[in-house]
Amino acid sequence: MRSSADSRVKLASFLAALAFFLSAVEYMLPRPVPFMRLGLANLPILLAVDLLPFGAFLVLVIVKVLGMSLLTGSLFSYIALFSLAGTMASALVMRGLRLAAGRRLSYLGLCVAGAMASNLAQVALARVFVFGPSARYMLPAFLGLGLVSGTLLGLFAQLFARGSRWLAMVGEDADGS
């Protein structure tokens, strides 16, 4: 019992560290448009949908947002709020879909749904706090970006998940506990 809780803490920490690292990688990549992101740092959250219990999952989401905001220097700006809303929406949608659809959805579907949810949440926030009604003109662009980045990341996650022995191992552990 003790060791399984222990390994879960280790797994959560590892995924959080991975999110930090991927945030740094993402920050290095050039961005043609400020909001255009691949969402690499969401990969650990996507994997955690199946690996972590709900509480630890939420903690991972918050740590990812904090890490990303620290790295980009946006922690005490409204951008961090957007990041939190987007990541939280995407995480909850992915978790909910996994609960509802189980294995009938692969990481591809989860990731696309998560990306769309994240971008919708950010457009909604932009409408309330920044741009007012004209935020609707961002909507198609954001949905399109979410579709593309979600598909790319989802396909990558799917390839990774099918090839990774590590994931198979921790996945078994998570199922067993």
């Binding site: 959805l105 591809l108 696309v112 009604p133 609707r136 579709l147 979600g150 099918r162």
Partner: protein, 139 residues
């Protein structure tokens, strides 16, 4: 459709390679549909500009896309505004000189019209911003 059973098409092969499911395909299709619908609705179609009508007693917003006539309460009495063909104008007002009624309809974002004695002000907002219009050009 030749050999569909023994030779899977590119989509199938792609799905098999990535382990994508039918539900995945449905979800991606739904996301794509949402994107296309949003793009058509928001970037296409008739002007999505709207008229913001301000009076002493409040502010109202009317889309310019549909024709209609409406009455707001001005300082001197009811003021009738009319939206026609994507433009809004003062149709009737209780003011003395009727300048507002004579003024041209406004339709593009940034344009405005007013009936000063009534304290009624209309401005057009939103819509596809007329980017090729400018206030001034410095050479």
């Amino acid at each position: 459709m030749r050999g569909a059973a023994d030779r899977p098409g590119p989509v199938r092969r792609f799905a098999a390679r990535f382990g994508a499911t039918r539900l995945d395909a449905a979800l991606v299709a739904a996301a794509a549909a949402a994107f296309i619908a949003a793009a058509l609705l928001i970037y296409g179609g008739p002007s999505s500009a709207y008229a913001v009508v301000s009076t002493d007693s409040g502010e109202w917003v009317y889309p310019l896309a549909e024709d209609r006539e409406f009455v707001v309460e001005g300082a001197l009495g009811p003021v009738t505004l009319r939206i026609e063909g994507g433009a809004v104008h003062f149709h009737a007002a209780p003011c003395k000189n009727q300048l507002c009624v004579g003024a041209a309809p406004v339709s593009s974002p940034g344009q405005w019209s007013a009936c000063l004695p009534s304290g009624v002000f209309i401005r057009v907002e939103g819509g596809a911003a007329e980017e090729d219009e400018f206030d001034a050009l410095v050479r």
